[in-house]
């Protein structure tokens, strides 16, 4: 099925168990030559003026990533769950939500929310007079909302598979021990499903990191938008993009490391 594989094909540098090819000596030589060329032929003096803003932008990016991954997870668990055992009136909307979000570009969703909703809201006096209005006039709530929804849809699909993949016997055994539905969900179903979903979580989170620069198009000041500013003000095309590329790669590797340690903690390790 093409739908269930979406995350697998997109999943970036996550090891798949086989011995993966490595970058090796030649790869490092190429990288070293590229860096030597960049250091020699490009201008780096702008970094002195701009590094505080770059760091602040990185902070925004990371905050956005952490917030939307957390909120998205909270949404994804019920979305996955109701698709497996929920009643029709819950499972069909959940399924439709996943299909719609995954079938349209994130940039379009972001613009639909920011420009679309943003242009509708002022027409309603009730919204304009509410305490939320000062926030709704800014860009970041729309960025958080659309990134959260996107993460929830992709991860909801993963959780659907993870919940469905827990063997029936486990749940039947829990019931025969006299566990209440909530108890067996908390002790049996959810931990096993979460364990199944964890490997894809790393890949999805890196995809989310790679989606964050889109918020620069709606004036959120993340690290990418700082680089765009540098480009406009110094007329340097490659240097700022190169710097933030290195930053993104380092953050992605850090996330992989984080998820690898998380997967290896005692609670998360596979049973037996």
């Amino acid at each position: 099925m093409s739908e269930t594989n979406l995350t697998a094909a997109q999943a970036p540098v996550v090891a798949s168990g086989r011995s993966e090819p490595t970058i090796g000596l030649w790869g490092w030589v190429i990288l070293a030559v590229a860096f030597a060329y960049a250091g020699y032929a490009m201008r780096w003096d702008w970094l002195l003026d701009w590094y505080p803003q770059l760091i602040r932008g990185l902070g925004t990016t990371m905050l956005l990533l952490a917030t939307t991954v957390f909120l998205g997870m909270l949404l994804a668990i019920p979305i996955g769950l109701v698709q497996v055992f929920g009643p029709r009136w819950l499972s069909i909307p959940a399924r439709a939500f996943c299909t719609v979000i995954r079938g349209t570009p994130l940039l379009l969703q972001l613009w639909l929310l920011y420009y679309g909703l943003g242009s509708l809201f002022p027409q309603f006096p009730a919204i304009r007079d509410s305490f939320l209005w000062p926030y709704l006039r800014q860009a970041w709530p729309y960025a958080v909302l659309s990134l959260t929804l996107s993460y929830a849809a992709y991860e909801g699909e993963v959780f659907r598979g993870a919940f469905a993949g827990v063997p029936k016997g486990q749940l039947e055994a829990a019931r025969s021990f006299g566990m209440s539905p909530w108890h067996s969900f908390r002790r049996i179903w959810f931990p096993q499903a979460f364990h199944r979903a964890l490997p894809t979580l790393a890949g999805e989170t890196i995809l989310q990191l790679k989606a964050t620069p889109l918020v620069a198009t709606i004036t959120v000041m993340d690290i990418y938008s700082v680089a765009a500013q540098v480009r406009q003000q110094t007329y340097l095309t490659y240097e700022p993009l190169l710097v933030i590329s290195v930053v993104y790669i380092i953050v992605a590797m850090g996330l992989l490391k984080l998820f690898a340690t998380l997967t290896n903690t005692r609670y998360m390790r596979a049973p037996n």
Partner: protein, 239 residues
């Protein structure tokens, strides 16, 4: 100008008499064209790349690994900008060397090139995995029959890896289609960019972005239907 009344709150007038509906469809057509071109280019890069990774020498393997790792860990938006700038820069420098004036790159061609490089990295991994999943006994049997490596590839490896590769490649097609939206940031006239123009001109932001979302969704759903058929066809005769 005749005005058509709204239908279910949708300002049909904007789409039908003011010509924006047609503009959106043209945008969709351009998006699909760029996506198709990028996908084909990505397939070519992916096939060559996976062969290089599997059968190449150490230099080819490691430089390809560098390519796929970097492309897959960078945001597409940044990649598209970098590849676009580097590509046009290099093209104009080469033209300068041969004594031609610099050219303005055609939007669709640049989009195909830029997205093709991105899709190629993912396709390399998909095809490499699919080839690795072909049982080695089949390839050994072919070799035992005295087939040359090229014949083994054509008769055994490529047809046998196809069912393994199709799910991944159909996802890549969906990704290619959705990634064309990013070209709007560069100002190419594909669906998302046309939508932004239409919304800006008419101030009906919500209507137009919703309409574009419907078009993308329709394209995705039709693609899903077709790839499901294709997958069934490629698995014919298999358990």
């Amino acid at each position: 100008m005749t005005t058509i009344p709204d239908f279910l709150g949708v300002e049909l007038d904007l789409f039908l008499t003011q010509g924006w509906g047609w503009a959106l469809l043209v945008g969709l057509y351009r998006s699909l064209l760029i996506a198709a071109g990028a996908f084909v280019l990505g397939l070519v890069i992916g096939t060559l790349g996976s062969f290089g990774k599997l059968y190449g020498n150490r230099f080819a393997r490691q430089s390809l690994e560098l390519y796929t790792t970097i492309v897959r860990s960078l945001p597409e938006l940044i990649l598209i900008l970098v590849v676009y700038f580097v590509g046009t820069d290099m093209l104009n420098k080469t033209l300068d060397l041969v004594g031609y004036p610099p050219v303005d790159v055609n939007g669709a061609a640049a989009g195909i090139f830029v997205l093709g490089i991105v899709i190629g990295a993912y396709a390399t991994e998909v095809i490499r995995g699919a080839i690795l999943a072909v049982p080695s006994g089949q390839i050994e049997a072919a070799r035992a029959f005295g087939m040359s490596p090229a014949l083994v590839l054509r008769r055994i490896t490529l047809p046998a890896m196809l069912p393994n590769a199709i799910p991944g490649l159909s996802n890549l097609w969906l990704i290619a289609m959705k990634n064309t939206a990013l070209l709007a940031v560069l100002g190419f006239g594909e669906l998302t960019q046309v939508t932004r123009q239409a919304a800006g001109a008419t101030k009906s932001y919500f209507t137009f972005f919703l309409a574009a979302a419907c078009l993308y969704l329709l394209a995705t759903l039709i693609s899903n239907l077709l790839t499901r058929r294709l997958e069934a066809w490629s698995r014919r005769g298999m358990a």
